[in-house]
């Protein structure tokens, strides 16, 4: 861990874009390598010396990050062709040149930064919350939950809205308007929570129209792409079944 590799550098090839409307272009940077360095640390190095391999001083690369320990979802980008968090992408595990691109399923803001507002809008659409009456202390504990159920819910609750599943899903594109696996997982989560259940019918309705669960093409890429290993395939299958039942029995409720 302490061996000195001072002279070694790593080559980065970064797809850049100055504004949402501008054409993308490529820049290359050589970054001094450090043991256990991640992609974020390399981008930070570029800020300190924003000179590309052509020797030209350029604007430092713009990207998004916050927690740097793969729990906030901010720094998702395409690293060597795969959507993942830049903070947990270790340089030593990556082939050179390390190629960085912005997620392609979202509008680019600048360089590696994208606008994922659509995911948050969709969370609103499916009412991803429990409808608590009040924040006041009701002097009551919530319902009891067996540890096994907690473990399942916790898995779904770890979704960081990073967008990797959207990137991997062939059905997410402008034409389909597919809401995507991440938001659907939240439907499943809140529909299984006792205080989320009152809104369960509305959540199912919200994913039954265009862009809803029916757009899922069962490619199963999402589960492989999820950095938190959410059981997305299972979630999508379950919701598919529930919405079918609802569609079939819909007239009973009218």
């Amino acid at each position: 861990m302490s061996e000195k590799t001072a002279a070694a550098t790593v080559l980065f090839r970064i797809k850049r874009q100055d504004t949402p409307a501008a054409a993308p272009y490529w820049d290359e940077f050589r970054v001094p390598s450090r043991p256990f360095m991640n992609v974020v640390a390399a981008l930070m190095e570029i800020q300190k010396n924003p000179v590309n391999t052509a020797g030209r001083r350029v604007a430092p690369v713009v990207w998004d990050c916050n927690c740097l320990e793969e729990v906030c979802g901010a720094c998702a980008m395409i690293v060597n062709g795969r959507a993942r968090q830049a903070c947990s992408a270790l340089v030593r595990d990556l082939a050179e040149p390390i190629v960085l691109e912005a997620l392609s399923k979202f509008p680019v803001v600048r360089d590696l930064m994208v606008d994922r507002a659509v995911m948050f809008e969709n969370l609103k659409k499916v009412k991803a919350w429990t409808a608590v009456d009040t924040t006041s202390d009701t002097a009551e504990a919530g319902p009891r939950v067996p540890p096994r159920v907690q473990a399942l819910n916790y898995q779904l609750a770890r979704c960081m809205t990073c967008g990797c599943c959207m990137e991997a899903c062939p059905q997410v594109n402008r034409r389909s308007g597919f809401i995507g696996p991440a938001v659907l997982a939240q439907v499943k989560l809140f529909n299984s929570h006792p205080l989320g259940q009152p809104l369960a019918p509305e959540r199912l309705e919200a994913i039954m129209g265009p862009g809803g669960i029916a757009e899922c093409g069962k490619a199963q890429n999402c589960q492989k792409a999820c950095p938190k290993q959410l059981p997305l395939t299972q979630v999508l299958a379950d919701l598919g079944r529930q919405t079918s039942v609802r569609a079939l029995t819909g007239w009973l409720r009218r």
Binding site: D18, P60, V62, A74, A128, A157
Partner: protein, 614 residues
């Protein structure tokens, strides 16, 4: 419902989100500002859990014990009334978050499980896997989203607060805030008669820390510059167990020790469990300041770091792998990823890192600063942790403080609309001394609009001036130097001569700041200009932190001076108040609220009870 007065909430972490929920629930319209999506706030990074004396396991815990542990752990520097109120409210807060959907870990019977963290004898920490902060934050953010869908919250995510605006020609009242769209770079005023700030701690001042990239402290700095008092700046928590890294020092949560992890190093060919030897009563679960100093002593003074390096072992290889997987997995994965070693099989190598700021903006017991209408809660306030924070109390204070602030802001605004003239509406106890500014419910009449426009212009000029900087210094490298300076001299062990030198060096860094060359000239999503702006705030806040440390000739909690190794209640049982002046911070002191618990000697080699009886 959505008419009423508007409240600005700045910060979408636990404190800001809960303030927004409180205000929206009361029928106010809330404008919520954050550097990015609230869901990505730093609070998400909290791992270990949140304290509440739920006493699930019937081991004799109570809110009174929680209160006493917190005051004792904070070395008696925290005002006792708000701490007591927080501890009393804690069980209700856990139940609320349970109802909000947080998947807290459960006992076999299905009730909320608790674990141990440092500084107490009771399992008191509710947790949700190894990402409790993420789960609490998501639940708060979901409630915000619910109110957003109902039209009561408007999100300004990707907007940065720059400064507050006051009626400078009139009575000085607070008129609103000035913020910048980080995409378009547009700077705008948002009129409001009250604002709650939950913008988090200033950790980045210390270079590589356990904090997130957003913890730059600029909002605290901007308010301080505009007249808000800053309490106890010198109290900075250094967490004992982190893994050093190039981009940040990743925390290894205290919960590893809570679940049975042991700290040791080699001595005379034997494993030496120095915490257990030195502090038999609490062992590995001494509070953070104690553990950090012990590791420092072992590595720096005794030269007994593992392989001669600055680190010791945190060992959990003796623990049951199934339990470890269930309760600590996420934490261990982080270690494995960044070191390439499996902590289930090889002891972890850890070293202390800057983690948390106990000091922050001065607030009264209703979370209002000395400027009427400006509230603050969360890591940016100074209220709950005294000289040292206990694990699990950080998120509790952010949630509790945020809720108190939200409610108080509602009352304040109601008060304003009742009393059109006169000020200080909702000011609470705690000997608040107001800055003599009045408040008003209708801030944007003719004069007010002029003042807001002037405030926007000031920020535009500041922005333009930074964009023009074309010197040879690189802001990022300068920040590295600042971090090394502060980390090396103003953290675990403090010497007056080095603190004085640090103040001189800070002056030099401020001089060199003027020679920065801004590396990005774009008018779109320019991250470089904002960085330079924030760096100035870091430099000036560093002066307050360092001066506070220099003046305080005693040792208390996280503040330790070998030249003054004892706590000195006769002279220093008082809160430091830093006031901004253009010539540097001015310090004054105010008494601590001690109305419930009489100060006693703080030591962890014996039970707290033993100390209580002396």
């Amino acid at each position: 419902m959505t008419r009423g007065p508007r409240l600005a909430v700045i910060g979408g972490g636990l404190a800001g989100s809960m303030a927004a929920v409180e205000a929206a629930q009361a029928g106010l319209t809330v404008d919520l500002f954050a550097l990015g999506p609230a869901k990505r706030s730093h609070s998400a990074a909290a791992q270990g859990g949140i304290n509440a004396a739920l006493n699930t396991h019937d081991l004799g815990d109570s809110t009174g014990e929680h209160f006493d542990d917190t005051i004792y752990g904070g070395d008696f520097l925290a005002n006792q009334t708000p701490v007591k109120n927080m501890c009393d409210a804690a069980p209700g807060i856990i139940h609320l978050f349970d109802r909000m959907g947080v998947p807290f870990n459960r006992t076999p019977e299905g009730v909320i499980d608790l674990r141990l963290l440092g500084g107490t004898k009771f399992p008191r920490v509710a947790f949700s896997g190894a990402t409790t902060g993420q789960q609490l934050l998501y639940a708060a953010d979901e409630q915000v989203r619910r109110h957003e869908a109902a039209g009561r919250v408007h999100r300004y995510e990707g907007w940065e607060f720059l400064s507050a605006a006051f009626d400078e020609t009139g009575d000085g009242r607070f008129l609103g805030i000035v913020a910048q769209d980080l995409k378009t770079m547009e700077i705008r005023a948002f009129p409001c008669a009250a604002a709650v700030f939950g913008t988090g701690g200033p950790g980045l001042i210390f270079g590589q820390t356990t904090n997130s990239a957003s913890n730059n402290g600029y909002a605290s700095y901007a308010l301080w510059r505009q007249g808000v008092k800053y309490g106890n700046p010198e109290f900075i928590q250094v967490h004992p167990t982190a893994i050093p890294g190039a981009d940040k020092n990743r925390l290894i949560s205290e919960s590893v020790r809570g679940e049975g992890g042991r700290v040791w190093t080699w001595k005379d060919g034997q494993k030496w469990y120095f915490l257990e030897e030195w502090y038999p009563a609490y062992g590995n679960l001494v509070p953070r300041d104690i553990a950090t100093r012990a590791i420092f002593k072992v590595c720096v003074d005794m030269g007994l770091g593992v392989d001669g390096e600055q680190c010791v072992y945190l060992d959990m290889t003796h623990m049951d792998p199934a339990e470890v997987a269930r309760r600590l997995e996420g934490i261990l994965d982080i270690y494995q990823l960044f070191t390439g070693q499996d902590p289930r099989r090889v002891p972890m190598r850890i070293f202390p890192a800057v983690h948390y700021s106990m000091g922050g903006l001065w607030v009264d017991y209703e979370q209002m600063t000395n400027i009427p209408g400006i509230f603050a809660a969360g890591e940016l306030d100074y209220q709950y942790h005294g000289a040292n924070r206990l694990g699990g109390n950080g998120m509790l204070s952010a949630i509790y403080g945020g809720m108190v602030a939200g409610r108080a802001a509602v009352r304040y605004l109601e008060g304003l609309s009742k009393v059109t003239a006169g000020g200080g509406g909702g000011a609470g106890g705690g000997g608040a001394d107001q800055a003599g500014r009045a408040g008003s419910p209708t801030p944007v009449d003719g004069e007010g609009a002029g003042a807001l426009a002037a405030a926007v212009r000031r920020e535009q000029e500041r922005d333009a001036a930074i964009a023009r900087m074309d010197g040879t210094e690189n802001a990022y490298l300068l920040r590295d130097e600042l971090g090394a300076l502060m980390n090396g001299n103003v953290t675990v062990v403090r010497y007056n001569d080095r603190l004085r030198t640090t103040l001189e060096k800070l002056g030099e860094l401020k001089e060199r700041y003027r020679h920065i060359g801004v590396t990005d000239s774009s008018g779109w999503s320019n991250q470089a200009v904002g960085y330079v702006r924030r760096l100035w705030g870091m430099l000036e806040l560093s002066q307050a932190i360092t001066l506070g440390a220099l003046q305080r000739d005693e040792s208390r909690g996280a503040h330790y001076k070998p030249e003054f190794p004892e706590r000195d209640d006769a002279n220093w049982l008082k809160t430091t108040i830093a006031t901004y002046t253009p010539d540097g911070p001015k310090l004054s002191y105010e008494p601590v609220d001690l109305r419930f618990i009489r100060p006693r000697v703080r030591k962890y080699d014996v039970d707290k009870g033993a100390s209580r009886n002396v």
